[in-house]
């Protein structure tokens, strides 16, 4: 280093700021990892001893101080499945319209994109209230009045309404992820297809969607795994505190892992006795979400590998 530069005050000051930044950001990383480790360790240590075949396959008993969480697992699976078949097709269709059909300066597309961005920022409890007000009280009521001569059938919290409420919450994530996957499909492939006399629709179905499939699935799974752990949107729209039997109809209420954690933590008659169950439930929920994320990561790396020869 020459004298001229080492004598300028900037160099030394930058050096200090640099060091502060490095130390600060390294510290932040450590703190973040530490918190994650603490949360995970706490739940794994507290919950792993509780997990057994019986815990996974039995219903809660004795005021939820004994037994297992089978109905909550089934309820979560059903809810997630229904939410997926509602949100993913609608989200993919929206993204295909936005990315493949809407002209770049389309007002409709702009309005939809802004709405989606705003939807993604709405607190999840608001979705819960929306679900109660719109799906349960309005839509459900209308169905009861027109189809069931006013008899209470659909105008009550149920699996169907909870799944639809959750799908509204998940929708923006699916749309954004799908749009990203569609944008990654090179324009050259679309051009080649169109130049061979394919219509836009044929091009989307035969070339664009297959190319984007990996990205779409990855995004959809991540969106779904996020939605699957949400409690607030289903609290008023279908999740039940305790149900002796499994839901058998779309308009039945259901138990849910996330809600069960909330119930055990706040409504237990005997906190000490429910604690292991609480930890076990949290661990199962965590593992399910983790599993979905692993599937998403595998899918993503698979599709990356597939794309390599094209580059």
């Amino acid at each position: 280093m020459s004298d001229a530069t080492s004598s300028t005050p900037f160099v030394r000051r930058d050096g200090i700021f640099d060091r502060i930044l490095v130390v600060g950001s390294a510290g932040a990383c450590v703190a973040l990892l530490g918190m994650l480790a603490m949360v995970l360790l706490d739940i794994v240590i507290g919950g792993s001893g509780r997990i057994s075949l019986e815990f996974l396959t039995a219903a809660p008993s004795n005021g939820m101080t004994e037994g297992g969480i089978f109905p909550a697992i089934v309820g979560t699976a059903l809810l997630t499945f229904l939410m997926t078949i509602a949100a993913v097709p609608a989200g993919v269709a929206t993204a295909v319209y936005l990315n493949e059909y809407a002209p770049t300066n389309s007002t409709l597309a702009r309005v939809v994109r802004v709405s989606i961005a705003n939807l993604a920022g709405v607190p999840s409890i608001v979705f819960g209230l929306f679900g109660l007000g719109f799906f349960v009280s309005t839509l459900g009521r209308a169905i009861d009045v027109t189809l069931f001569s006013g008899e209470l059938t659909f105008a009550r919290p149920s699996l169907l309404w909870a799944a639809l409420t959750l799908s509204v919450l998940t929708l923006p994530v699916v749309v954004v992820a799908t749009e990203e996957a569609l944008r990654a499909v090179p324009r050259e492939l679309r051009d080649a297809s169109l130049a061979l006399g394919a219509t836009r629709f044929e091009t989307v179905v035969r070339i664009v969607l297959p190319e984007a499939l990996g990205g779409i699935l990855t995004g959809a799974i991540l969106a779904v795994s996020r939605g699957a752990g949400e409690v607030a949107p289903i609290m008023f729209t279908g999740a039940a505190y305790f149900l002796p039997q499994l839901p058998s109809h779309l308009n039945d209420a259901f138990m849910n892992l996330g809600y069960h954690v909330y119930v055990l933590a706040t409504q237990s008659p005997d906190v000490e006795k429910t604690k292991p169950i609480l930890y076990g439930t949290a661990l199962v929920l965590l593992m399910l979400t983790f599993l979905l994320n692993v599937v998403a990561v595998i899918l993503r790396s698979r599709t990356r590998g597939k794309l390599k020869p094209a580059l």
Binding site: N105, L189, A192, S193, A195, L196, G197, E202, P309, A310
Partner: protein, 263 residues
């Protein structure tokens, strides 16, 4: 419909495609200015000119590919065998089955070699397996690729070399048996040997179809084309028989460009 015969100081031209007053706009910006040009049947027409002069834009308006770009406006007329391709009840998708296209960067689908070539046929509704196989082989032979790929038809088209990929794209375009083939700098990413093969191929294909090729390579234009059109700043400066264009150009700009004084 009978082909139209036009007499010029040069040899009479049997017209396959004709543009009249063709202008193309990207939004407010005009990229092609009122071009009148004729493409002779079973000939190769080379489009030359400096970068950005509108060659690709002009070429893409011959099969209505410009329709797929947002904000493009095309004015004027384009005829194929005397039938307007910009008519009010013309379906651009159908036009593209008659006028095929090969792009600058080879762009095989991430599918097998067979499926690449069969794509256009399947789109056109062909389902019969034997017939598809026949047509795929024919197209690959046409594109001088058959011998190299006949043992690996069901491997990915992306596993081929650059030159092979470009010939695969040509086979794919030929499979639907277009009357006209548009090629936008098809050899620009190829090495000299692959380029020479491609040029031979173009000369052979001329027997069966009409070709319009954009190229930046003057020798290439001289080797493969019968007629050459020189574009400058979106305007057609001069068009004529290739030999004459390269030896006795009428316009100073053409001579300057061909002799490498600009562009």
């Amino acid at each position: 419909m009978t082909p139209q015969v036009r007499s010029t100081p040069e040899l009479p031209l049997v017209v396959k495609m004709r543009t009249r007053g063709l202008s193309v706009f990207y939004g407010e910006k005009q990229a092609v200015h009122e071009v009148d040009l004729e493409v002779g049947v079973n000939q190769v027409l080379a489009l030359i000119g400096p970068s950005g002069c509108g060659k690709s834009t002009f070429l893409r308006s011959l099969n209505r590919m410009n329709d797929t770009v947002d904000g493009v406006r095309v004015l004027g007329e384009v005829d194929l065998d005397g039938r307007p391709i910009y008519g009010p009840d013309v379906d651009p998708v159908v036009v593209r089955r008659h006028v095929g296209m090969v792009f600058q960067r080879s762009n095989p689908f991430p599918k097998s070699i067979f499926d690449n070539v069969a794509y256009g046929l399947r789109i056109a509704g062909m389902r019969d397996k034997a017939e598809l196989a026949l047509r795929v082989e024919k197209a690959l032979r046409h594109a001088a690729l058959w011998d190299e790929v006949k043992d690996r038809l069901f491997e990915s088209g992306l596993g081929l070399s650059g030159g092979q990929q470009q010939r695969l794209c040509i086979a794919r375009a030929l499979a639907v048996e277009p009357e006209v083939l548009l090629m936008d700098e098809p050899a620009s990413a190829l090495d000299p040997i692959a380029t020479a093969r491609l040029e031979d191929l173009i000369s052979e294909l001329r027997a069966e179809l009409t070709i319009v090729i954009v190229t930046h390579n003057m020798q290439q234009a001289a080797r493969v084309s019968q007629r050459t059109a020189f574009f400058y700043m979106g305007k057609l400066v001069e068009v004529g028989e290739t030999q004459r264009m390269f030896t006795r150009p009428k316009e100073q700009a053409t001579e300057d460009y061909i002799s490498g004084r600009f562009g």
